[in-house]
């Protein structure tokens, strides 16, 4: 969230006070009004910041829109990029003097890279692009900015805005490869998973994706390989769940896949545990067949259902929950074995409450109660 951090001010060496610049002589600087919180001691804070904001106040009071407004507002923004009044006045000035917005955008390329976390930077860009109507280079700019900060909320939101606002096929075309690149850099990047959902499911049906059943299969297969690589990745499980729910697909299509992730390791494996599970799964469908032959042993090879690596930290609470959901759905659809399904679901929730996710014990108890409510319905 909002941080109160302050950027250091070592950017300007050749600072000349405005009072010593001939072209600013016509203005009388206006001191900051401190209201009732006026300090008793003389103001000691940075002369450069004080000087520039004093002259900025003079400009505002005069209602001046001119070339030099761009100079002084840039100077202040570089010292304090969160000063929203300065941004606003700069933007009004750009429009009033019909400034070259492309030059402004180029300046912003550099400023945005320096102050990635400041949302005014992104909003200003948005206003410029709205005027320029030139979204395509933006995607490359954003991709670069995300390299510096891969989960930056405002950068991602800006990308989603560009895509939705201009909604051109050429813009959307590169999005899936882009997301895949981001996920291969960090498959736990929730922003990238969210973006994938946005691109695949929330932006209409694109050419080549009319067959939704094929699309569901593609997305499930993609997510499975990512889960196999890092089973305890909430983002991937949430995505999987989101796809099934969005397309009203039965959870049971995932039973074969989920089951090995919901199993506790057998006792003899336990000593081999490593702390994390990002071990490369040699059993993913993308792995080379020679690797598969080496590691599959006598297990039946199922390319559609990559299994967790031997070093994965199991069971995954998300997998157990998935299995329990499958049992609940099965109980609702299937009268004859319903009771045993519910009992099984309750047992799975109980294992989460007491063993595998005890922090959220009360939630899992709630799920047990909800599951048991299904009993009279099917009796």
């Amino acid at each position: 969230m909002q941080r109160l951090l302050v950027e250091s001010l070592d950017t300007h060496q050749e600072y000349v006070p405005y009072g010593e610049r001939p072209e600013w002589q016509d203005l009388t600087p206006i001191q900051q009004d401190e209201g009732s919180l006026a300090p008793l001691a003389p103001i000691m804070y940075g002369d450069e910041y004080k000087d520039s904001t004093n002259y900025f106040r003079a400009i505002v009071q005069k209602g001046e829109y001119s070339e030099r407004v761009l100079e002084i507002t840039e100077h202040i923004i570089r010292q304090n990029p969160s000063h929203y009044s300065v941004w606003q006045y700069r933007y009004d000035t750009l429009l009033a003097i019909k400034a070259d917005l492309i030059a402004e955008l180029e300046l912003m390329d550099e400023i945005a890279t320096t102050f990635l976390k400041t949302y005014q930077v992104w909003h200003h860009r948005r206003l410029l692009i709205t005027h320029l109507r030139a979204p395509r280079p933006e995607l490359m700019f954003i991709a670069n900015a995300l390299q510096a900060d891969k989960k930056n909320y405002h950068t991602w939101a800006y990308r989603q805005w560009i895509l939705a606002e201009f909604n051109e096929d050429e813009l959307w075309d590169g999005e899936l490869p882009f997301v895949e690149q981001m996920l291969s850099d960090d498959l736990r990047n929730n922003s990238a998973w969210h973006h994938r959902f946005f691109v695949v499911w929330e932006s209409g049906v694109r050419a080549g994706e009319e067959d939704r059943e094929t699309l569901v299969k593609r997305e499930i297969a993609f997510t499975k390989t990512k889960i196999a690589r890092a089973p305890n990745n909430a983002s991937a499980w949430n995505y999987l769940r989101g796809v099934l729910e969005r397309t009203s697909s039965p959870f049971s299509v995932l039973e074969a896949f989920v089951t090995p992730y919901a199993q506790p390791p057998s006792p003899e494996d336990e000593s081999e545990w490593v702390s994390d599970d990002e071990a490369s799964s040699t059993k993913s469908p993308t792995a080379k067949s020679s690797d598969l032959a080496e590691t599959a042993d006598d297990a039946v090879l199922d390319l559609e259902n990559p299994i967790p690596s031997a070093r994965a930290e199991l069971p995954c609470p998300q997998a157990i929950e998935f299995l329990a959901d499958i049992r609940e759905q099965s109980a609702q659809n299937n009268g004859t074995t319903a009771r045993s399904d519910i009992d099984e679901a309750i047992k799975l929730y109980a294992s989460l409450a007491t063993k595998y996710d005890t922090m959220r014990e009360r939630y899992w108890e709630f799920r047990q109660r909800e599951a048991s409510k299904l009993i009279p319905a099917i009796a």
């Binding site: 941080r3 001010l9 004080k50 989603q160 895509l163 929730n190 973006h195 909430a234």
Partner: protein, 331 residues
């Protein structure tokens, strides 16, 4: 609850000291947050039952000096333009200080209404940035001023609906990722408008409970670091959804307490940081204290999670919604 306790008195003097460092450059660089910061400090004091530790008259005078008469709203600082966030802070401060009559209600109402866009979203100011945070500010302001009838509810809720994601959470704009702070502003807005039927409460409650990490702290999005301020965003949302018991209170209390500056090395510091070992600031101090209050930590005042204001005040205004926090413990 662990051996650590909330160092209330140290935090109170920390907040008192904040307004005095006005010769620091940092103080001036954060002028755009000044009114918000006063609200945070005052609210932290209210939660810790030391409301009178700051001078009431000075605060009211400062708030009124932030009035932007051209726009009809409050800026964050005397010569800053009006913005919806400090406008909410101003109204919250004046209400807490029992001086709500100072403001020009009709002008603020028309300022707030003027910030709504045709999509139903709200901008923060004339500059036009939109964010579900600003929707919350608008709805909270109108509610506190008793002017909710001036709001186009359909349009407002329609926009929030567009910001809801597949995982049950909400983002800051249409299409943006779910984020705990944005979940709070959307859920609290819907609570004020009595429209919690718009959310899948079990699913969202689960997403919020999933924010708790093994060290007890809460993060704002999956696979991100824990941070004390999420104690408020997540817990207030869960309180409004009546599911605050879905997270582990004891470990979260320990986490917040361990982020107290006074617990690091120097007992003089005071305040709460984003996480243990970091530098305290007023933002994390209020949201850490607010989180503790919702968790029933002993000897704190009740906090209304919808408005982030003292609970008794909201009740006296007749605005209390049907939320549930954890019961107050005794030491």
């Amino acid at each position: 609850m662990g051996s650590k306790e909330l160092a209330t008195l140290v935090h109170v003097s920390y907040i008192q000291s904040l307004g005095k460092a006005t010769d620091d450059l940092a103080y001036h660089l954060t002028a755009h947050l000044r009114l918000n910061a006063i609200y945070w400090g005052l609210m932290a004091l209210c939660v810790m039952k030391h409301k009178d530790a700051l001078d009431r008259g000075e605060m009211i005078e400062f708030v009124m000096s932030c009035w932007d008469d051209e726009a009809g709203g409050f800026g964050a600082h005397p010569d800053h333009d009006a913005h919806i966030v400090p406008t909410l802070s101003a109204i919250q401060i004046l209400h807490i200080l029992d001086a709500p009559d100072q403001v020009d209600v009709p002008r603020i109402v028309s300022y707030v209404i003027s910030l709504q866009n045709s999509s139903g979203s709200f901008s923060g100011d004339q500059f036009g940035e939109t964010d579900t945070r600003f929707t919350y500010c608008a709805v909270s302001i109108l509610s506190l001023l008793g002017k909710l009838d001036t709001l186009d509810e359909q349009k407002t809720i329609g926009y929030l609906r567009k910001c809801r994601n597949f995982d049950g959470g909400f983002g800051n704009t249409e299409g943006a990722e779910s984020h705990a702070a944005q979940v709070f502003v959307c859920v609290a807005t819907l609570a004020i408008l009595d429209r919690l039927d718009e959310v899948d409460q079990d699913m969202l409650g689960w997403w919020l409970a999933e924010r708790q990490l093994p060290n007890g702290g809460l993060n704002g999005r999956p696979e991100k670091l824990e941070d004390v301020c999420y104690s408020f965003w997540v817990l207030s949302s869960l309180s409004i959804l009546k599911r605050v018991h879905w997270i582990d209170a004891n470990s979260l209390i320990s986490f917040i307490l361990s982020a107290q500056e006074s617990m690091a090395s120097d007992l003089e510091g005071g305040g709460i940081a984003d996480r243990p070992g970091d530098t305290a600031d007023v933002f994390h101090t209020v949201f850490g204290a607010a989180g503790l209050s919702l968790l029933g930590y002993p000897d704190l005042d009740d906090l209304d999670p919808v408005y982030c204001m003292p609970s008794r005040l909201i009740e006296s205004l007749g605005l209390k919604k049907d939320w549930v926090a954890l019961g107050r413990r005794t030491l």
